[in-house]
Amino acid sequence: MKFVDEYRDAQVVKNLAARIAKIVTRPWTIMEICGGQTHAIVKFGLDELLPKSITLVHGPGCPVCVTPAELIDQAVELTRRPNVILCSFGDMLRVPGTGEDLLTAKARGGDVRIVYSPLDAVVLAQKNPTKEIVFFAVGFETTAPANAMAVLHAEKAGVKNFSLLVSHVLVPPAMRAILGAKDNLVEGFLAAGHVCAIMGTKQYESIAEQYKVPIVVTGFEPVDILEGILRCVIQLENHEHNVENAYSRAVKEEGNVIARTIAEQVFDEVDRNWRGLGPIPKSGWDLKEKYSHFDAPKKFELKPAAMTPVGECISGEIMRGIKKPKQCPAYGIRCTPEHPIGAPMVSSEGACAAYYRYRHLTENINQAGAA
C-alpha cells in the first residue's frame, strides 16, 4: 500500500534504531501521546529495538480509554430507552462503565450498532425516521471535525431524530497536566500526528517553551515512530526544546484550517473528567448552545454523569508514564482483556491491552525460562 509499506521497511527501521543507539549518551524518558502509536510500538516491538537507556512511556492518547465511566453509563442508559439506536465506534463497545459495557447492553436487547463514520449515523437516522439515533461522539481533535460535520449534515437535511453523546478530549491540556505533576518523569514527547494534521503545530510551542521539553510531531508506522524518537533524542542530547514536524507528508504547521473551523463552529471548550486522570480544566469540547437540540443528555433528560471512584485500576499512573502495565498488581491476573477492570485493558489502543495482547505470553515464557 502506497505511503504505508515504505514506512514499514525493515532496513530503514534498523538504520534508525542504530542511529539512535549511536547518539544517546544517557537515559531519557519519552512519552508518545497517541493510542495508535502505542499499538504500533508494542505490536512491532519497536521499544525492544531501542537502547536500554531510552524508556518509552505511553500517554493518555486513547479516547476510548479516557472516556469517563459515567458517560458510558449514560450510553448504556440510552439503550434502555424505547426506539433508541445507539451508534458507536467499534472499540467503544467493550469498555465497561460502572456496570455494563455496550456489548452486554446489546446482548440484553439494546439496539447498539457499530458505524465506521459519524456521517453514517446521520444516514441511519434518515433511513429510520421512527427511531431516535444517538451517536456516541468520542475522540480527540482528529475526530471532532467528523463529529461536527454529522451535526451540520443533520441540521442541513432537517434530521430531527439524531443526537450526539459527546465525549471529546483535547491533547494540549492533558500534556500540561502530565508535565505539571510533581512526580512527572517525561522528558520528551512524540505528539500525535493526526491530531496535528487538524490542529497544526503552533499550540505545542508554548508547552515546549514552558516545560522545556522537545515535542516531535510523529506518524504511526514503524519508520515514522523511530524517526520521531531519533529527532527527540537529538534534541534532548543537545538540550533543545523545540516543536519539530517529523510527519510533514501529512501535517502542515497551520494544520487543517477548514476542519478546525468546522469543529469550532459546533463545539465549545469545556472542562472534562478523564477516566484515570481526573478532571482537567478546559480539556474537552461539547456542543455549543446553538446546537443543544442535538445534545442527547438534554434531549433524553439523562441524569448528569456522577464521577466514580477508580477502584483497583491504576490507569492514571500508567497514562502519565509513572508506571508500566506490568507494574500493576492486577495486570494479567485479575485484569485481562476478557475480564477488564479498567479501560486501558479493553481498548485495543490502551497500553495495558497492547502489552497483554502482544507481550504477556513472551513475558510468561521468559519468566518460566528464568525460573
Binding site: 500500500m1 476510548v64 463497545l93 514503524p222 489502543e349
Partner: protein, 348 residues
Amino acid sequence: MNTPHLECPVPLSYRTEITVGHGGGGKLTQELIDTIFRPAFANDALESQHDGAVMPFAKKRMAFTTDSHVVSPLFFPGGDIGSLAVNGTINDLLMCGARPLWMSAGFILEEGLSLERLDKIVKSMAKTAKESGVSIVTGDTKVVERGKGDSLYVTTAGIGIIEHNHIIGPYSIKEGDVIIVNGDIGRHGMAIMASREGLEFESTIQSDCASLLKPVEALLNSGITLHCMRDLTRGGLATTLVELAQTSKCLFTLNEASIPVTDLVRGACEILGFEPMYVANEGRFACIVPEKDADKALAVLNKVAPELNPAVIGKVGPKDRGVVYLTSIIGTERVLDRLSGEQLPRIC
C-alpha cells in the same frame, strides 16, 4: 399431489412464508419436506423416510463431525449460509483425512422467513454437497416464533471414511515439520464486513467459502506424509495455529512476510484496523508436513489452485512448549495469542 384438508384450508402453494404450523410435525411439516427438502436432496437413503439413515459400511475408519451455522447476513458475496454449512462440515471431515460421504441437516426456521429464501439456501446446499460427492441423507426442521431466531440456523453433521493409513492430527506433528497454507487469508471475514450495515464499502472481496476436497485429495494421492491439517475458520490463521501448537505442545515459528494476503483484504483490514491473521476464512487450511515433503506439498497445492497463492509460512520447533512465535515484517519477534472476543473496527 397434495389434496387440501379441512383443518388447513389454505394450500401450501398459496403460502410464501414459514409459519409456526410448519414446525408442528403434521401435515404442514410434511408438505414443507415434500416440496422443498426431498426434491432438492433426493437420494435412496432419504427416500426410506425413516427416523435415521442407514448406509452400508465396511471395516474402515469413519470420521464423524457436527457444526452449527448462524451466519448473518444469510447471503454474502461468494456464498450463503447453506454453502457455508455444507462446506464447513465437508472440510472438517477432510481435515481428518476422510472422504466425506453423508450429511444431516437440521433447520431452525424463524416464523416469517420467506420460502423463496429458504428454497434458495436449500438448493445451494444441494449443489454444494453434490460438487463434493456428498449426500444429505437425513434432517430435521423446527420453527420458532418471530423474533426468537435470526431467520435461519442450520446444524449439520457429517460422516466420512478414511481410506488410508495416515494418522492425521495434532499429535503427529514433529520438530522440523513445515507449515503451509493453501492460499491467501482473510477473505471470508472481510467479505462479511463489507456488507455489514454501517461498515459497507465497495469491494469485490468474495468469501473464500469452498470445499477443500480437491487439494486434500491431491495431497493424499501424492505420496507425501501428511502429519496434520486444520482448516482456518473463526479466529483466523493465528487462532488456529495457536490451538494446534497448544494441543501438539510444539513450538511453531511463523514468518509474517510469507503469509499471503490479497491487496483487497489488506486494504479492508487497514481501514478498519484489523489484522488479517485474525480474520475468518472458509476455504483455507494449514497443512503440516515433514521437511522432506514440503516442496512437493507446495507443488501439489500450486497445481490445484495457483491463483490462491499457497505458501510456506513457518516451521515446527521442539516439543517443549506449545506456543507460536511470529517474526514481524520488520524483523522483530513476538508470541501470538488466540483472538480475544472478536475484532472490532477501531478509530485510534
